[in-house]
């Protein structure tokens, strides 16, 4: 463990808020019906149950490396709730709440995290009803998904479809060229795109103040001529409100918006990381008090929707759901080695892949792949 750690800076708290951290209403809450509010709250509970369980599974060796969003769920939740059926989302790896709000099946996600081929997962855990919002696989190469999302939004614009595309990215990823390309293309073509910069102050070990020198990440919008908002990322209602405004503008043909969601990565970057190596964990402890969950519960209580019983009921239901999903994902057969040749080119994959498929098949049959096949038999 290094002697030197990053000097931290508490993030600037000048941002849009609807609720104070203690739950006090500071402004007009968005017009959300009870059912939606409860769906949002249940998603919050489910996300926590899901993440707690996946971390446990990962430690047991049942999953490969995975990330968490605990204490940061309001970003994905509030933003995703502002979408509607038919919209598209290009997420980052930290938006479990967005996935779960829209019913992306946990069993499939877990099966993928177990290193299964998507073809195997689709075969054994078929989708009966696809979620109302289409989620793309998250972009492993940071920043790329935001640019693809800009293209998705351009496609809708060109076809006059009133679909909105939402993209999530971390604040660290705003340093990649793809991020700027995305904002520039979306702004020039007035594409119906909403980009949420999930600013949790850290990119693995890099603090936001080493990532850039601008006062806020919302400032990035100014370079590209689109509106930039800065929102309390631990305030579900604020996230919903500002994203909803942006989504409405996008749907009305008024172009893209950038939203900086200010939060803090209380947890480790992912299951391979130990944040105490490079930062003083005091600020992380401090941020636990901004947990979005009690804040949102306070609003539900104001609306007469919240009770301890409800929470306990949700917790029990969600735990059961997660366990059931894990129970479906765990027994999936390992992907067949031959699946690596799937979903390459449409139609004939070419002579060399036909040969190599036969080579691997020979190996799986304990034959010598280099002597067992007569290449003259390949068309």
């Amino acid at each position: 463990m290094g002697q030197h750690k990053w000097a931290e800076q508490a993030p600037d708290e000048t941002f849009f808020r609807i609720q104070a951290p203690d739950g006090t209403l500071l402004g007009q809450p968005p017009d959300l019906d009870d059912a939606t509010l409860l769906r949002m709250y249940r998603t919050l509970v489910l996300t926590r149950a899901y993440e707690t369980h996946t971390i446990r599974m990962q430690r047991r060796g049942e999953l490969s490396v995975t990330a968490q969003s605990t204490y940061e769920e309001a970003v994905g939740l509030g933003a995703a709730a502002a979408l509607r059926d038919g919209d598209w989302c290009f997420p980052s790896y930290r938006q479990f709440a967005a996935h779960l709000y829209w019913g992306v099946p946990m069993d499939r996600t877990l099966a993928i995290l177990r290193g299964g081929a998507p073809e195997t997962v689709a075969e054994h855990l078929p989708l009966d009803t696809p979620p109302g919002v289409t989620f793309t696989p998250y972009g492993v190469i940071l920043g790329t998904n935001v640019l693809n999302a800009a293209g998705s939004a351009m496609a809708d614009k060109l076809n006059g479809r009133d679909i909105v595309t939402l993209a999530f990215t971390g604040e660290g990823s705003t340093s990649e060229g793809d991020f700027h390309d995305a904002l520039n293309f979306a702004a020039v073509f007035k594409a119906p795109l909403v980009v949420v910069v999930h600013n949790n102050q850290w990119a693995i070990s890099t603090p936001a103040h080493r990532q850039h020198a601008a006062p806020t990440f919302a400032h990035k919008a100014l370079a590209h001529g689109l509106p930039g908002e800065r929102v309390d990322g631990n305030d579900v209602l604020a996230m919903y409100q500002k994203t909803r405004e942006a989504v409405d503008r996008a749907r009305a043909g008024e172009g893209p918006t950038l939203i900086e969601a200010v939060t803090y990565r209380v947890v480790d970057h992912n299951t391979s990381d130990s944040a105490e190596v490079y930062r003083d964990q005091a600020l992380a402890e401090h941020w636990k008090q901004f947990d979005p969950r009690p804040r949102f519960e306070a609003y539900l209580a104001d609306r007469g929707l919240y009770s301890d019983t409800l929470r306990q009921q949700y917790e029990a239901e969600c735990l059961a759901e997660v366990q059931a999903a894990a129970a479906r994902a765990l027994p999936l057969p390992r992907s067949d080695a031959m699946t690596m040749f799937d979903s390459q080119l449409f139609g004939d994959p070419g002579w060399h892949l036909r040969l190599q498929q036969r080579e691997l098949a020979a190996e799986l049959n304990d034959a010598n792949p280099y002597t067992a096949i007569d290449p003259e038999t390949l068309e």
Binding site: N148, A155, D181, A182, F185, L345, G350, W351
Partner: protein, 335 residues
């Protein structure tokens, strides 16, 4: 001349290669509303080589889309459009500028379909001029098709004549896979030939036997097909000349069948030698028809240096004489 797919009896028009490209773009824009031609300098100007000339006038700015000056932006946005059902045809002004978009090219364009288990696809085409001989600026003469061919999940196509260009570009655009379509800038205006007037698509899985022969197989693509042809004519050797047409995935069968008959193979390319496509072709031939070989496979290539300055590029690129030397070396070879 064996050119599968081109019907010789149809009505033809004399076109050079850039006109053939233009015609194919026009046909495909008219045929399929999902086709969008995209790039910078492709709208009112019609492309720096005039490949998109007139298309903006006919189809308007929503089908022929001038974009900001970012290759990465172009490829990444086109990938997103393609994921949503569009069929973008992106012009990258010169192959040397595609390096700026290599992340999106390798990790998204060529990968989205595999990554999504076939749920999403990327039916887009990158068209880009490449190759030497027109003596422009640095990075405007690249023949770095190897970077593309080593990337799985993408087809790489390279026509050598106007009629080939028209049919192969139509096929590339209609293909549901991502395709890179390499247009040799030296061939754009090099010559005209009769090109069938009606739209047509050529197969993307068949090499073209330009001339049959029994003594040696010569493999080439793009401008090198003509250089090889000239060398063969000069020598009056009974060579079989194969225009690969599609560099990935290769039509290996046609190649191996030929070398099985001739027992000799010469590969001609403008790319640098080390890990130019000639390396793969040589390895494939040796692996699969070793016992038929009367001489080692010969690579006639450019050198392993950066594309040089205008004054020396003629010594860098293979010419008919270098090809002749290559063919002679395999004909003269004795164990």
């Amino acid at each position: 001349m064996n050119a599968p797919g081109i019907d010789p009896v149809t009505d033809t028009t004399d076109l050079n290669l850039v006109q053939a490209v233009n015609t194919a773009l026009r046909d495909e824009l008219a045929r399929d509303p999902a086709v969008r031609v995209m790039g910078y300098d492709i709208g009112p100007i019609g492309g720096v080589f005039r490949a998109t000339e007139g298309l903006y006038d006919t189809f308007g700015g929503e089908r022929v889309i001038d974009t900001p000056l970012s290759e990465n932006g172009l490829i990444g946005a086109a990938v997103g459009m393609a994921m949503r059902g569009e069929r973008p045809v992106v012009e990258i002004q010169f192959l040397g500028f595609l390096y700026n978009a290599f992340g999106q090219f390798v990790c998204l364009m060529s990968n989205v379909r595999e990554r999504s288990g076939g749920q999403l696809s990327v039916p887009m085409t990158i068209r880009t001029p490449f190759g030497g001989g027109i003596k422009p600026l640095q990075f405007h003469s690249e023949s770095t098709e190897s970077y593309l061919i080593h990337t799985p999940g993408v087809r790489v196509v390279c026509p050598s004549t106007p009629a080939e260009a028209k049919g192969l570009l139509a096929a590339s655009i209609r293909c549901d896979d991502p395709v890179v379509f390499l247009e040799h800038s030296r061939l754009y205006r090099a010559f005209r030939e009769p090109v069938p007037t009606a739209p047509y698509a050529l197969p993307l899985d068949k090499a073209r036997v330009v001339r049959e022969g029994r003594e040696v197989t010569v493999l080439a693509w793009g401008a090198m097909v003509h250089v090889a042809q000239q060398a063969i004519d000069d020598m009056a050797v009974d060579a079989e000349l194969i225009d690969l047409r599609v560099l990935a995935p290769l039509d290996v069968k046609t190649i191996l069948d030929s070398v099985r008959r001739t027992g000799r193979c010469v590969i001609v390319h403008e790319a640098r030698r080390t890990l130019g496509l000639g390396a793969e072709l040589s390895a494939l031939v040796t692996e699969h028809v070793f016992d038929c070989l009367k001489a080692p496979v010969r690579r006639v290539t450019a050198f392993d240096v950066q594309f040089p300055e205008n004054q020396t590029e003629d010594y860098y690129l293979p010419d008919a004489r270098r090809v002749r030397h290559g063919i002679e070396s395999v004909l003269q070879y004795r164990f």
